[in-house]
Each structure stands twice: as C-alpha cells, then as structure tokens.
Amino acid sequence: MKVSITVNGKEHQSDVEPRTLLVHYIREVIGLTGTNVGCDTSSCGACTLHMNGEAVKSCTILAVQADGASVTTIEGLAKDGVMHPMQTAFMENHGLQCGYCTPGMVMAAIGLLNENPKPTEEQVRMGLEGNLCRCTGYHNIVKSVLAAASAK
C-alpha cells in the first residue's frame, strides 16, 4: 500500500505491506535507527516518537495508519547541531546509561511537558509509566525532566 508520511520535516512516499508497523517503517524503510524496539507487548516505550505532535508508541501503530501524518523521531530533535533542551537536560543530569531506552524516554518526556509544562516529581513519574529503563533506576531521568521543565 502507498503511504505518504512526513518524517522530521521531509515527506516520504513509500509502498509498504499492510502489516508493517510504524517503527519498522521508520527503521527499515526510512533508515532512521534511533527509534528502538524493546518489547513485543507495547510495554517498554523504547519506540516512542511523535506523530502529529503527540508522543506515541510506534510499535502500536501500522505504517498505513500514519499515512498523511507528520512524524518526529529522535533524529529530528536537534536543530543546527544543537540538541533539544530535553536532550541537554538528560546529558546534564546523567539521565541515561546504556542509552537504549533514551530516545523513547526523551520523546515521551517532551510529550509529557507539552501536556503539563510544570509537573511535580510525582506527575513525572506517573507520566513516564509507559517507558521502562533498566539502567538508571529512573532517578536521574526524573531529575532531567524536572530540570528541562524548570528551564522553560
């Protein structure tokens, strides 16, 4: 099936199988491998990206469902070689170790602040419920998100 999806500001026309997941489309068809896959039960959030401005788990969406949509992946955040403030906050607060959960975590965190620009620690923890990290114990991830919020 033909789809037209705008990825990080660039429109792509492709022919995909109906069962292709958005995450596989992004990784394999578009060739952007920053978005990761960590599970097969839509539990981990490693695949989180933005579709039409909203954070979504791209393993729960078919590529055909994204037809006509605008998608932002982790690769699309930095502008002119300068990282997005959320990326900087993660770096400054040691919000990542192995970095595998990180692209999804950063995309989810940006989505969280879009909805609630000044969250409490509790709200950050609840808001990131769908994103698992095995390395950091979340302590510094929460700190990163709060830092990004207060820098706004």
Partner: protein
C-alpha cells in the same frame, strides 16, 4: 608516580558530563540491530514449547517452500559444524557434571526455549513465518521444575549423568576440627532460616542482536554482537567452531545494557557464525522480547539454609550454610560459579571466628539456564546473612542495628584477614552505617513508628537496613585458579600519545552503559596533564583492543582503570628519559606536573609532553636505545579483590488491608574508595538499588509445574516503572583501597547487593507487631497480604 596534586589539572573526582551521551541522545549511536549489512540473511530459531521432551521427528519441507526461505537446519544437520560443545568456563569441582550442550538440540529438548531448528531467509518476516511451518513431533517427558524435586533424582534430566546433581562445593573452615558443630551446641543463641532466591530475568532493554559477516576470501569472520565480552567471545567461539582464533574478530557496537545477561557465549552467536561461513554471506539475528525471557540466561534461583550461632552478647560464633543452586537445563559460561562467588560472603561484614561451614549443591532443572545476573552470588549471600542477623536480633530481643554494631569488623582491623583467608582491603562499616542512620533520621522514624503503629492501624511504618561487602574487581588470577576458573582476571590497557599530543587509550573493558569512555579519559587526562577531550578511548573491537577480559563483576575500574593509570605511568617514564636527554639533565632531577617536565628547582628548564610526543614521533633526537613513539601497554593482574561496602536503609509504609508496600525513603551510603566521577558512581548506585528493589517487590520468573514460563514478556514480568519507585538518596564515605594507586573499588553491583534485604527487613519491621517474621520475595501485595493473614491467624490460635 602518583597522581599530580596540581589543582588546575584535578579531573579525577569531578562530575564531568559523559561523552557517550550525545550520540545516544540523538539516535546516532549504532546498536547491533541498527547496523546496515547489505545482503544479510536473517536467522530465526524454532524453540521448544516443551520443558522436557524427546524429539521424534522434524519435517521442514513446508518451511522450505516459503518465499524467501533459503535453508532450514536441525540440530542433527549441524552436528559437524561444532568442534566442541558450548563452553562452560568454570568447572568448579573436578567431578562437576556438565552435559554436552549444542546450539541446537538433537534428540531431546530440556527447557522451553531450547533451540530445535534454524531458518535462514532473505528477510526477517519470512524467517519468522517459516518457524510456524516446521513440523516437530515431540514425546513429552516429566519436567523437573522444583529444586528439591531435582535433588531427589526421581526424574533424571540428563540420563547419561545418572543424576541431576551437577556438583557439591564445600568450604569448611574450622579453627579446630568440629568447632562449628560445637559452637552450635554450646552457644546461647541459634537461628535457623530458609530463604528462597527467586529466579530473575535480567531484561536488559536491548534484546540480544547478532550479525556475523564473513570475508569472501580467506575465511576471516567478524562477529557483531550485543555482548559484554567481545574478547572472551572471540576465544570461545574460535574454539567451539574450530576456527583459528586470528581469523575471528568480535565487535560489540553500542550495547543496551547487560547486567550479566550478555556475559555469555550464546547458541545464536555460534549459529550465525557457522551459517555465515557455510553460506558465505552475512547472517543476522535479533531477539524478540518473549524469546529473550526464555533464550537468554536468567539469574538467582537458590534455596538457602542459613544457621547462625551467637554467644550471650550476640557475637557470632559460627555460620553454617547449605545451598541448592538452580543451574537450569545446561551449564552456560559461568553458571556453576555463581553460587561460589557468594560462598565467602555468608559472614557478611562481621568479624567471625574460623567456624564456617558452607556447602552448595547445584542441580539441573528443565528451565532456562541460569548464569551471572548483577551481583552474581553476592546479593544472595548478603540477603541471607542480613536476614539471619535480623532473625538473631529477634531471638535475642535486641535491636538489629545494635547487634550489627557488636559484630561489625572494626575499622582498625583492616586490612582484615577473614576466616576464609581472603584479605578485606579497607573499610569502616560503622561510619557508613551511622551516616545512613543519620540520613534516614532513624531516631525520628522510630518515634513516628511508635505513634503510627498502634493496634488497629492499617498503615504501618517500618525501617529496614543492610550492611554489605561486595567482593568485586574480578579478580586476582591466582585466586581464580584456586576456584578452578578457566581464565585469569587481569586487564589490559594501551596508552598512546600521538604526535599532536592527543592521546589514545585502548582498553580491554567493554562498556555497555557504565561510561568508561568518560572515566578512562579522566584518568589519562589527569595522569598525563592533557585535557580530557584530547583523550580518545577505544574499546569493544578485538581488532583494535586485542587483549582484554571485558566488563562484569564490578571489575572495570579497579582492574581496567588501574591498568590505564599504570600504562600512563609507563608513558611518563619513557617521556621522562626523552625529556632528560633533551634538557641535558638526569631523569631523577625532573618532575612531571600538569603535563610538563621541569628540572626541580629551575622551572624554566622545562619541556611539555607535547614537545616530547612530537620528538618521539620524529625520532630525530632520542636517547641512545630509545624506541620512537610514545606508547605503553600494560596487563595488570590485581593483587586482591576490591571490597566496596556500605549500609542501606529504607522506610516503608505497608497497607495491611491491601498488602501494598510503599517505599517512603531509600538511603544508600556506599563506599567505593576514591571516586573517579561521582556523577557516574551515583548513577550506578541508583540503577543497582532499583534492581534490588525489583527483586524484593516486583520480579519473578514464574514457572508452572510443567516448566512453562508464565511471565514471558514485559507485560507479565514486572520490571518496575518510574511510577513504582521512590527517588534514592545517595551518600558515601571514602575509604580508599590500599591495593591500587587510584585507591578505587568497584561500584556496579553494590546497589543491587544492598537493596533487596533492606526492603524486605523494612517490611518485616513494619509488620513485626502482627507477628510477621518472614517475607518471601517478591513481596507483592498478595504475598504481603497472605503473610499478614497467616501471622495473625497463627497469633489467634
């Protein structure tokens, strides 16, 4: 040469931000499955749905008809591909039983997930679809799932072995023969406890991924793998496949966490290599999460019987431990050694006489093989001794912290020769514990507890603690030899000053989240007086870092980091000779501060390292016999383990009506000696603590009686999320290790070791008024609620 004290070059101990982060944060970093490998065939592995069954027949004909499928192999088809069975590097006893284990099973499957057939296809979808088309006829056999059942030998898994027992490993240390038994007879207080260490799934967020790329001519092969151990994997895969070692190159690209689960030589790595060579084309494989829970090793899995004897003052007089270890269906790389790594730690941080009787019997079960998981043997041991101390305190009706104080090894006793003969390098347990108590506001919490835990209250407050020692920094090679480990414990480092005074550090450690690039650059930067950004750290590719023993067992800094410092010393030594030659003075008259050699007493007679590096490169004016270039290599074998320690405390509130446990406060005071980068140290503690909390409250690989995994994906296996956890307050004390020049100890496993007993003792403390004295892990709401019911019913009887 010691670290320069020049404040302007003080890098070690600063919170330098990680250089690893930008590529990981922007999606630029490449994990194995991100690599673009044109023409690669995809491997999929058909796995047994039975825990124990005979393979009657396998029909692959329908699978071969699927478009895109290139080949299908059964275990029998590949028998000739293996020069040796899959490796177990730790035959802990000379009579240890080790069943032959091949990448695919041939006649019989021994756990759910055991590989039965391998499909190669031009794309991943076809290779997975083909799995459903393979027809395997099984004859199911009775599965052995329970450890005590395994021990009974009622059903024997590996018939040729004649038993399910793999080995019994005893450690009996007695001042005089029979003194343990005597202590148990004579001592005023005795406790006898049984604990179960549930099986855990390591669950690194990146599932394993592999790509084997053969060279078209000559037979060389490159293996890309999401592994912690490229160096060990190179040797082991060469031996298993019968390939000359120099033809194998192993690369670990970005690796998304390991925690021990990638410290192994896996069937899929060997299959990819064998089939890539057979087809002379790249072969790749990526694990699905549900596959990961079954085909990647699991951790823990022990039943512990622990006894303590103590005199009238509570001084421990003897320790007796009996363990049953769950090996799973086969022995993986270090499976049998895991309980042995804990064998020396059942006396914890306490000063005990030579009256220690430990024995571990390990058995096979029809479950996924176990192996090292963060802490490997040491969290189990710490849990047991810390829980037993609590039981002893209950028995004596005294405060458990007071009991610990009576038994702690004292600061002035270090270096302390333990009952086992091992030397504990340095420590101050009381200091760490008192600091933790202060940070917890222990007195305040106790007062609050008195107010809150009144009869009829349904939200009960509890405080828990544990003091731990982590035997880490694996390891002095000679000690490993005495434990029958098949390799050494050294680490290699090369430091090279390039002509432009930029530095390359090549390490044999293989980071996967620990920030070695940053920390190793900091060490070299401070030693050589160059900016950290001028130091490049190369690792995880055996073509670049030829020698190394990789990353596990909190070894990277105390072994690998120290190796770098030593290599820097060698570079400085050589540079000094060149400087002396060029400054026309004696080498002894030179000092090296902040990257410059100068003649002591006449600071303007000086040469910066930059000039010497360039001079070593041009080689125009070198002292007689001095080789060009500024480079040194070191293989460092540590003289001792490193012994980080600490005390953790936590405050919980237990809802007696629902069984829910809420951690209100978690305090971790850890002492890992000098810290290279406190930011990274804290991160290691946070992550470690949460893995310990996860064992205490959430996680368990649950099997049914037929050996089916009931928690086989991330919606059933409860890896905690941010919303399940508190923030963690870290504190530290600094007791440098005297055994290495950096004064460092490891920190990777400490949090995990301290956390589980801290949480469980807190829950028991909260419920002690209800008569609760035990708590199984994970202490889920159901388990807590049931335990309360049992205790209160028992109380009413």
């Amino acid at each position: 040469m010691t670290i320069t004290e020049d404040k302007s070059t003080k890098i070690i101990g600063t919170r330098l931000l990680r250089r690893e982060d930008p590529p990981l944060l922007t999606g630029e970093a490449k994990f194995t499955n991100d690599l673009n490998i044109p023409g690669a065939l995809h491997l999929s592995v058909l796995r047994s749905p039975f825990a124990h069954a005979k393979i009657k027949s396998i029909d692959v004909s329908a699978a071969l008809k699927i478009a895109g499928v290139v080949a299908v192999y059964t275990g029998k088809d590949l028998q000739s591909a293996w020069a040796a069975p899959m490796p177990c590097a730790w035959p802990v006893t000379t009579d240890m039983k080790n069943p032959p284990h091949f990448p695919l099973a041939s006649d019989k499957v021994n756990y759910v997930g055991d590989g039965v057939a391998a499909v190669l296809a031009t794309n991943e979808t076809a290779s997975r679809d083909a799995l459903d088309a393979i027809d395997v006829q099984y004859e199911p056999l009775k599965a052995v799932v329970d450890l005590e059942d395994a021990l009974s030998d009622k059903n024997i898994i590996h018939k040729d072995l004649g038993t399910n027992k793999s080995y019994t490993w005893p450690l009996l240390v007695e001042e005089t023969p029979g003194c343990v038994e005597e202590a148990f007879k004579k001592s005023k207080y005795k406790v006898k406890e049984r604990y179960v260490q549930q099986r855990l799934i390591p669950m690194a967020m990146e599932p394993r991924a592999i790509a084997a790329v053969p060279q078209p001519f000559g037979g060389d092969i490159t293996l890309y793998s999401s592994t912690q151990i490229p160096h060990i994997l190179k040797v082991m895969s060469a031996l298993t496949l019968g390939i000359p070692e120099q033809q194998v190159r192993v690369v670990a690209p970005s690796v998304g966490g390991g925690f021990g689960s990638k410290l192994d030589v896996y069937a899929e790595e060997l299959l990819c290599m064998a089939l890539a060579r057979k087809h002379n084309t790249p072969v790749r494989w990526v694990e699905e999460r549900t596959e990961n829970t079954q085909a990647t090793i699991q951790g823990r899995g022990q039943i512990q019987h622990v006894e303590l004897a103590a005199d009238e003052n509570g001084k421990i007089t003897a320790v007796r431990v009996r363990i049953i270890g769950d090996m799973g269906a086969y022995l993986q790389l270090v499976t049998p050694g895991v309980p042995i790594l804990g064998a020396f730690l059942y006396a914890g941080v306490y000063d005990i006489p030579k009256a220690y009787d430990f024995s571990c019997t390990s058995v096979f079960t029809n479950l996924t093989p176990t192996d090292a998981y963060r802490g490997a043997g040491r969290p189990e041991a710490t849990y047991a001794i810390e829980m037993a101390i609590e039981a002893l305190a209950r028995e004596m009706k005294i405060d458990s912290f007071e009991l610990r104080k009576r038994n702690y090894i004292k600061k002035e006793q270090f270096p302390y020769t333990a009952f086992s003969g091992l030397t504990y390098d340095s420590g101050d347990h009381l200091l760490a514990a008192e600091k933790a108590a202060k940070m917890t506001d222990l007195a305040g919490v106790r007062a609050q507890q008195k107010k809150q835990n009144v009869p009829g209250a349904t939200r009960l407050l509890g405080v828990g603690m544990s003091s731990y020692f982590e035997m880490c920094g694996l390891a002095p090679s000679r000690v490993l030899a005495s434990l029958n480990y098949s390799a050494g414990g050294w680490e290699a480092a090369t430091v090279r000053v390039l002509p432009t005074n930029k530095v390359q550090v090549i390490t044999g450690t293989s980071p996967h989240g620990q920030g070695h690039e940053t920390s190793w650059a900091m060490i070299a930067s401070e030693k050589l007086g160059v900016a950290p950004e001028d130091v490049d750290v190369l690792h995880s590719d055996t073509a670049i870092s030829a020698l190394g023993l990789d990353t596990y067992g909190s070894r990277s800094l105390p072994v690998g980091g120290v190796a770098i410092a030593l290599a820097c010393d060698k570079v400085i030594e050589k540079a000094k000779l060149i400087a002396a030659h060029q400054l026309e003075c004696a080498a002894e008259d030179l000092q090296f501060v902040g990257g410059t050699f100068s003649v002591k007493g006449s600071p303007d007679r000086a040469l910066p390292l930059a000039a010497i590096a360039f001079g070593a490169f041009t080689a125009h004016n070198l002292p007689e016999g001095c080789e060009p270039n500024l480079e040194a290599q070191v293989s460092y074998d540590p003289p001792n383990f490193s012994w980080p320690f600490g005390t953790h405390m936590c405050v919980v509130e237990v809802d007696t009506e629902t069984g829910a446990v809420k951690i209100l406060k978690y305090i971790a005071v850890d002492d890992c000696g000098n810290q290279i980068n406190p930011l990274i140290v804290e991160g290691q503690v946070h992550g470690g603590v949460v893995q310990g909390i996860a064992q205490a409250l959430f996680e368990e690989a649950v099997y049914d009686e037929d050996g089916n995994l009931k928690s086989s994906n991330l919606s059933e296996y409860l890896v905690p999320a941010a919303s399940d956890l508190p923030s963690i307050t870290t504190g530290h004390t600094v007791t440098p290790s005297p055994t290495n020049q950096l004064g460092v100890k490891g920190i990777g496993e400490a949090g995990t070791i301290g956390a589980a007993p801290t949480v469980i003792t807190a829950i028991i403390d909260a419920l002690s008024g209800l008569g609760v004295t035990t708590m199984a892990m994970p202490a889920s709401p159901q388990t807590v609620w049931k335990t309360i019911q049992e205790a209160t019913r028992g109380g009413k009887k």
